[in-house]
């Protein structure tokens, strides 16, 4: 619903000032802001206007410049529950642009609100280039998605009550230290995993040789909530569940199967893990140590271009998965 009336097309200087106040773009150079400027349009919305509805195709993303946007989730029985409010400076709607899915929440202006909008086609054009601005934008989006996941999971933990901790099945004193080394898998298999299909052979080889392969039996704790992971895990075979444990209660907020990654949030923002990662099935993992992750995440090579896409898609999948327990909790009230 981004095709509504465009209320303001401010001059270049004021638009750039507005862009400069958006945390997603903070620290970007003048040249990088110039790169973005052509894609951004202003839009004013009255209170109560619906920006988009849950389940709709995504037509673009928005920055909240002034005002606030309420985000609500539909529930069975024609009910809805408000799950968050986005305020000035926040970005909205990027998830569905990154993963091509549908809107996961309904967005409604709560008061007079000014937005800066970027259409789907302009967003795709911006991030699909191998240009410094595209790399910078994708890294920022990943940081924002990390922060959003942290907020979402923290809220879930609060809803469960009690202190963090409880009973993971087996504590891991040093993450990944006692895992058994294994040989690399057949790259023909890896190439068939959805997240890796976009890699060209050289880029895929660059990633598959950047870490070590390790086997982990089912029921092992890989990372405990509150600790910092020294590596990013790519699941090659098996499945790892991400759980929040509060006292005797345990909620799964994600399940990473073949081709999916986990334990990279610490490597992106330096914060501790918000969840405990436990192998639900025996698992073959590719462990990318911090240095390898930093290179793939921070460089501006062809491999980094695709790796950033993989991490972004994984983050958006994690965000969508984390709304499921939220929905179940809300529906059961």
């Amino acid at each position: 619903m981004l095709d509504g009336p465009v209320a303001g097309t401010p001059d270049a200087a004021s638009l750039k000032r507005e862009l400069g106040r958006i945390p997603l773009l903070a620290g970007m150079s003048e040249a990088q802001l110039d790169e973005l400027e052509w894609a951004v349009r202003g839009r004013d919305m009255p209170a109560g206007e619906v920006l988009w509805r849950q389940g709709q195709e995504a037509e673009g993303m928005v920055f909240v410049s002034e005002g606030a946007v309420s985000l609500s989730m539909s529930l069975p029985g024609r009910r809805a529950v408000e799950v968050a409010t986005a305020r000035a400076g926040e970005v909205l709607g990027e998830v569905a642009l990154i993963d091509g899915g549908l809107r996961s929440l309904t967005a409604t202006a709560t008061g007079q609100t000014r937005l800066l909008t970027v259409s789907r086609s302009d967003f795709t054009a911006l991030v699909s280039r191998r240009h410094p601005t595209a790399f910078a934008l994708k890294r920022r989006l990943a940081e924002i998605a990390c922060a959003r996941i942290r907020r979402q999971i923290s809220a879930l933990g609060d809803a469960l009550g009690e202190e963090a901790g409880g009973g993971p099945r087996r504590e891991a004193p040093e993450p990944f230290a006692d895992l058994e080394d294994r040989r690399a898998p057949d790259s023909r298999y890896v190439r068939r995993l959805a997240n890796f299909r976009a890699f060209d052979s050289l880029a895929l080889w660059g990633i598959l040789t950047a870490g070590r392969y390790a086997f982990c039996p089912a029921g092992s704790t890989l990372i405990a909530e509150g600790t910092r992971s020294p590596a990013c895990c790519l699941v090659i075979n098996g499945a790892v569940e991400k759980v929040v444990v509060r006292g005797a209660r345990r909620i799964r907020v994600g399940l990473a199967g073949p081709g999916h990654a986990l334990a990279y949030e610490s490597l992106i923002d330096g914060g501790p893990s918000t969840t405990t990662a436990i192998t639900r099935e025996r698992a073959l993992l590719l462990l990318l140590p911090q240095a390898a992750f930093a290179r793939l995440f921070g460089d501006e090579t062809a491999g980094s271009h695709v790796f950033l896409d993989v991490i972004l898609r994984d983050l958006t999948a994690a965000l969508r998965q984390a709304t499921r327990p939220q929905a179940h909790l809300a529906a059961s009230r």
Partner: protein
């Protein structure tokens, strides 16, 4: 991969979930929105319990190996029947000359005199190798009922053999325990025979008064080399549900009506509407059990650690 729906609650015209919604079960046979690499062309079956029918505790049954989209008899019948419980299935098999397309392989399965019916979405890899190891766990009077060649029918026989009385009327809790017990037996046999590749077992069981479904896979994420089903099996097999007063169409869409206490639950391999916002996903490795009560229905989910 097959597509299944199960329903328990207020009487619901059969035509609605089979044909009327914009992602109805019949549409999912030839145009599924999820797992779209796989069509479900190997037959159709439905069992329904209608409170106003003769012997309401016995379901009506309709199973054919033809495509339901081209079945005028089914369409007309579906416009006349309003069951309060149903289980319907479109069968998907690999495109192979080795598959047996026959009435005896059509879901839902319900042996003569049995009160429990079952439909299955998934497949046990290397089933031929493990089939006869299941036999000691299946009661002889139940085993006699097996007529087809599917893993699903054997799972059915195994589950009802775990009941105190395979031909009795179990409640939701007893049925759920029997399912969990059957999955543990399958797990143990697979371990003994060294079968350790992904095998989804989404089960739908009902008695007309209680409903139990699972979203479960053995050894999820492990596949045989060169697996032809890899792309189909990579995502965890889906299962969705919606709950409320009654399932009704309004403003061009279909959804449960609001209700203080749930009176109806609809569970399906994928939502019956393109708009999925009124549906919730059943968590992986879990079971959802529902039963009729005086005030509506009780719904409970539990983890499956089989």
């Amino acid at each position: 991969m097959c597509r299944v729906l199960a329903y328990l609650g207020e009487p619901l015209l059969l035509r609605h979930p089979l044909y009327d919604t914009d992602n109805s079960l019949v549409r999912q046979s030839y145009s599924p929105r999820m797992m779209s690499t796989f069509l479900n062309l190997a037959g159709f079956g439905v069992l329904g319990w209608d409170r106003r029918s003769v012997e309401p505790e016995t379901p009506f049954a309709y199973r054919v190996t033809t495509l339901p989209a081209f079945d005028p008899n089914l369409r007309e019948l579906a416009g006349k029947i309003t069951p309060s419980c149903m289980i319907a299935h479109v069968r998907g098999v690999t495109y192979s000359g080795h598959e047996v397309i026959a009435n005896t392989n059509l879901h839902p399965f319900r042996f003569r005199r049995a009160r429990v019916a079952l439909a299955h979405n998934g497949h046990l890899r290397e089933f031929r190798r493990m089939r006869y190891d299941l036999l000691p766990h299946i009661r002889p009077d139940v085993a006699q009922g097996i007529e087809g060649t599917t893993d699903s029918e054997w799972i059915y026989a195994l589950v009802i053999s775990q009941l105190d009385d395979p031909f009795g009327l179990p409640g939701a809790a007893e049925l759920a325990d029997a399912v969990a017990s059957a999955l543990r037996i399958v797990r143990e046999i697979r371990g003994r025979l060294g079968i350790d590749t992904s095998s989804p077992v989404n089960l739908f069981l009902t008695t007309g008064q209680a409903l139990v479904t699972t979203r479960f896979s053995f050894d999820y994420g492990w596949y045989p080399p060169g697996d032809t089903l890899l792309e189909t099996d990579l995502p965890y097999v889906s299962l969705w549900y919606t709950v409320g007063g009654a399932y009704e169409g309004a403003d061009g869409g279909w959804a449960m009506t609001p209700s203080e206490a749930p009176r109806s639950v609809l569970i399906a391999s994928e939502p019956l509407t393109v708009d999925t916002t009124s549906w919730l996903q059943v968590p992986e490795y879990s079971m959802l059990a529902a039963s009729l009560t005086d005030g509506g229905i009780d719904i409970e989910t539990r983890d499956l650690d089989a």
